[in-house]
Symmetry: D2
């Protein structure tokens, strides 16, 4: 796969992860309450949304520093996936976070 | 200095850096033209604005992952400072980037 | 007061409102639980944070469209202040939202 | 078309417009130079990227205030389309801005 295709795939994975996490937070976690609104979980979801957006924009700009962001994004997505996996009905979010973490990790190592 | 004061200082440094870089980009670099609007420089300025914002918000949320972001932010601020230092009349921007890099690096190492 | 001073004041009011709302959401509302984490309230807080940031950045860029954003921002800050005023211990957030709404409304009408 | 489908379409139009404008700015306007990097044009492009993102997130959160943002977003997208239409090789950007403006305007009037 060419470098440009890998970049496009990683941008898509970040966009999907940010969108799904934000929609899940407000459409599922907040209405569910209980463990779904524990501070640590909500904070991780917001961290994940913000960093996926920022990382995707570094790639869209063709930034020379995008790999640095991809490495950080992979770690935060992993942490978010782990937090979501402990809660009911968050499979879509877990999958989006794991896909994004994997894609970002490849992007980070390709540039290293 | 207490941990909370250090955190507040780092949030302020990130906020200042983001604001000054965005105002310099649109109020100084774009009107100046020439080397001030070379793609690599403008992209670095936009990278710096975005990541300083994201990093400050991780700290505002009390995120357990804020040190990870601070480490990345320090590197991008260094790169932006270096790019600005080669151009005329960007001393304020250089200083804000260097202050932010230093504060973020301390925050990152304190949490390590 | 000169136009530039008014603009600086409005940027500051937007920055303060965004920062205080985000810190209150994660530092007060989420730990408090109950009515503080009802979906409508949390969504309004996140709306307010996002739009205050966006509006401040339009002003920082010297955008010809900043008054359009200030008008919208004033309305969302009013709605957020109203939501916060019904909850315990959110006086700081109410005040920041009302200050920002007032400042944005002046900026919007000055440019009309 | 159901309300949910309209909402999804408008979110997609905002996402596309933000992505295409940011990629065009850094991948086409900055390398092209000249009129493509005039302050007013670059500022409008950045305004458009920011507001499309913010508007899409209001819709993703199911915010009761999303129509207010859609109305503002339509106006800024129109202004950006007009600025891009005067420059060479920006057809994709013009089209994305016009599509987004139309979709946002429908969303704003549907909620009025």
């Amino acid at each position: 796969m060419s470098d440009d295709l890998e970049l496009e795939d990683c941008i898509d994975a970040c966009d999907d992860c940010a969108s799904i996490c934000l929609e899940s937070l407000t459409g599922h976690c907040l209405p569910a309450g209980g463990k779904h609104v524990e501070p640590r979980h909500v904070i991780l979801m917001l961290d994940c949304v913000d960093l996926c957006r920022t990382t995707a924009d570094f790639m869209r700009r063709g930034s020379p520093n995008h790999a640095r962001l991809c490495a950080a994004c992979a770690d935060i997505c992993d942490a978010c996936a782990e937090s979501c996996a402990k809660l009911d009905d968050m499979e879509e979010c877990v999958e989006a976070c794991r896909d994004c973490a994997e894609s970002c990790r490849e992007m980070a190592s390709a540039a290293a």
